[in-house]
Subunit: 292 residues, 2 copies
């Protein structure tokens, strides 16, 4: 089977054995925003055409490729849902020479009935061993961080925090970014931001401190990006983390490392999962799929 | 006397009578960001040179013109401070043909000793009749909203909220802005955002709802900017407003109208002050100044 985790900015393709093992892997920059004129079939052939020519006829796609801006829109499935529910709701994509199926995203509603959506993360969660626990908590940090509750093989609920995208927007679009210089992540400044997130005051007030601490020479220009990052992740973790919980972190190693640091500073504990969640999730859903 | 409220993006000049009445007023776009090569003297002559030629020798400047990026840096004065304290700390600017003084900004520290700064707002507050009350609360909405406590003629404390600049950054730099269309402010959508700000969940979670409500066709593209504005101002007011307080609003009429709406929705009450606070503040400080 072929699995493709196909997001907004990149494509990760896996040739998977019958047991789910990754036999080959490839990565390309042709995320859906970089595929012009709707030429998704060509983009798929470009990354996995030789595998299909070699006999792989089952192709499973997950991520933003199933969104309104993607190849074919796969309607969201409501929580709770697990790999078997996702497999039963796959959407077929017209394609010559292989059977191509799309994993739907998931939807949920928060306490006030405001909708939640994810696309791609459900497949990573489907590949997480702790999905089978009685009650587990997972976090997938990123532009739109997802915090998901897992129980008995299903994703039961999730919440999104815009921390990553807000960091980028504040850095590039406000006075806070004017002082920021590029450089290695300053851990001390990051920790100061995390500590600040636990002090009295709203985030809208706390972010102004990035400016004033700089003005008063109490925060170096080279440290202010790390401080702002710690402040935002600190606010997110304090809002999302139930007291003392264990969090399974899924995502880029460096970002997971920062989240683990904040979770521990806030009284929780964290396990950084290996980076194979997406391929394992694709394999798990693919095994339950009805192929042509 | 001549008073100039000289900010980042614009200049407002007043010719003031001995009683503080505005005899003439002018406005120009030559804020400090638009004055190249440090030619502030020319910019001052350009807006008020004929008044000086006509005999006005006393010129008082307030706002970002006294910042590090301005003409001469006027060190911040610590709270509590009132018009007489400001007048005693004016900074003289070398200038041919008139006596030019700069009003310093104010500084304060929040509960966790993070610094606060304002420049220009202290002069508006100095012109507010409620400065003389025993205990008054004023709000100056804007890119960096200021909430100030006033008592017996002095500004005793203040806090800044980055709501205005965050709105602009989220709109121009995130996925939330991609759906937003220009148009008249939709009051219903603004009120929905204000109501949302009072529901459980952190701002970093609430902002993602702008995206999901749009995706699920529960918020029109034409309404999403107003919703986000209500959400941010709602968060600011809920954080800054002590229960049931009266707030004196100083600033642009349309923005003050929105803040008044939110303050009332949150159980407070609001008075929108007239737009003469800056000229009255310049006149008040100028009367106490030591001119050459």
């Amino acid at each position: 089977m072929i699995g493709v985790d196909w997001g907004t900015s990149s494509q990760r393709a896996f040739r998977l054995g019958a047991d789910g093992a990754v036999l080959e892997r490839r990565e390309a920059g042709r995320g859906i925003l970089h595929v012009e004129g709707g030429h998704f079939a060509e983009a798929l052939r470009s990354i996995a055409g030789d595998w299909m020519d070699g006999g792989e006829r089952h192709v499973l796609l997950s991520g933003m490729i199933g969104s309104r801006q993607g190849w074919v829109e796969a309607p969201y499935l409501a929580c709770p849902a697990g790999p078997d529910d996702l497999a039963a709701a796959l959407v077929r994509v017209p394609f010559e020479g292989a059977d191509v199926l799309l994993v739907p995203g998931l939807t949920d509603a928060d306490d006030a009935d405001t909708p939640e959506v994810m696309r791609g993360e459900e497949t990573q969660l489907a590949g997480l061993p702790s999905l089978l626990e009685e009650d587990a908590l997972a976090c997938l940090p990123g532009s739109h961080s997802k915090w998901a509750r897992l129980a008995d093989g299903r994703i039961t609920a999730f919440r999104t925090y815009l921390s990553g995208e807000m960091f980028a927007a504040l850095r590039s679009g406000t006075i806070l970014g004017r002082m920021m210089t590029e450089g290695p992540m300053a851990e001390d400044a990051f920790d100061r931001g995390v500590a600040r997130s636990g002090e009295p005051g709203h985030l809208l007030h706390h972010v102004f401190g990035v400016r004033t601490l700089g003005l008063m020479h109490r925060l170096e220009d080279a440290d202010s990006a790390a401080y702002l990052s710690g402040l935002l992740i600190g606010h997110e973790v304090r809002a999302a983390l139930p007291t003392g919980r264990l969090v399974h972190l899924v995502g880029a190693a460096s970002l997971c490392g920062l989240y683990a640091r904040v979770i521990e500073a806030c009284g929780g504990s964290a396990v950084v999962e290996d980076s194979e969640a997406a391929s394992r999730g694709l394999a798990r859903i693919g095994r339950a799929a009805k192929w042509d």
